[in-house]
Symmetry: C2
Subunit: 210 residues, 2 copies
């Protein structure tokens, strides 16, 4: 939203003198209250100013936040996710490291019979690589984070919720899964990856107006 010169002046006045009545603002600009009315409604409707009856105008500046918040609450993980990089239980830690470098990702997902069974991060691999072990002899499932401890999202999860999970659980990425019920058991099919890189790219695209 691009403000006119007069609208910017109104905001300046309100910020410096809040609460301030419409009459007072008009006086400071040597304008009539009627002339200001459309500007004040636009600023109020856009969330930049708040008007309280019998008190006056306040500066709010929820403009950016509201719009950004609304947008990423509507956007779904499915809209921005990347392809998941997976390896199978039974493959080695060495295989895991090679996959991580080949695919240039920070996290790989481990599957068993096609369904998610674990997550392996660069840190998990680093911790094990340090031990001077024979990395080709250690199965990946020994070093992975197991299913019960995995934070995941689904395709219909909002980008907002997924971002909050990444920050709150301090992880670099989340597997995107589809829940499948087989023989009364819930299994997770890995259908994507949602990472801090997806977040940064989305933020940049929004800022560039794409």
């Amino acid at each position: 939203m691009e403000l006119s010169e007069r609208q910017n002046k109104i905001i300046e006045i309100v910020r410096a003198n809040q609460p301030i009545t419409g009459e007072d603002i008009a006086q400071r600009l040597s304008l009539t209250r009627a002339t200001l009315r459309p500007d004040l409604s636009i600023l109020t409707m856009s969330g930049l100013l708040d008007a309280r009856p019998r008190v006056g105008y306040f500066y709010v500046d929820k403009g950016v936040s509201n719009l950004t918040g609304e947008h990423i609450k509507k956007l779904k993980v499915a809209d921005v996710k990347s392809m998941p990089i997976v390896i199978s239980e039974g493959q080695s830690v060495y295989d895991g490291i090679v996959t991580l470098f080949l695919e240039d990702v920070g996290t790989i997902y481990v599957v068993k019979d096609g369904y998610l069974s674990g997550v392996v991060s660069r840190k998990d691999l680093l911790k094990n690589a340090m031990g001077k072990n024979d990395l080709e002899a250690i199965p990946i499932d020994v070093v992975m984070t197991r299913l019960s401890h995995i934070i995941y999202v689904e395709e219909h999860t909002s980008v907002y919720e997924a971002m909050a999970k990444i920050i709150n659980y301090q992880v670099d990425s989340l597997p995107v899964v589809k829940k499948v019920i087989t023989d009364g058991k819930e299994l997770l099919e890995v259908v994507g990856r949602f990472s801090k890189t997806n977040i940064a790219k989305l933020f940049l695209e929004m800022a560039e107006g794409k």
Copy 2:
């Protein structure tokens, strides 16, 4: 910006029928052109609709992008940066890995005589840890990315530019430096760290209206 029910209806009509004249929109809503005028000005001024003379209204939706873009072009790296985690040249790869786990970061900066000389990522460490080397015997400066290849930002760099660098150069974080001229030589003092985590946190805070 929260739209009224009528404004949302106008946007729906424009999206489905663009370009469409104000007269046509009014007819579809069984309202007069005069009643619609304030709504149409607000939608045009907020960047959601574009009006071309003798053609009609178009749907634009630059609202979110413009505001987000303006905001992070004004915000400086200094406003959101984290503390840098540094080790000194001469310390070992083992020290580097320990520091990385203790401080729970993805990248550490290497300094020589107090000034930036290199950057070491989890991947650099992992690559070396795999080789079954004696990690305590390898100096960190052997595995680091050297100064001439380091992408950095300064405190006054905009968050927008810093984000673009992270995406374009495919790195997880950037050192924040202060340039110091000593004996006609430019040296870089490390004063912070700007990472994908900072970006994700900022995005979430903006969305939450903080």
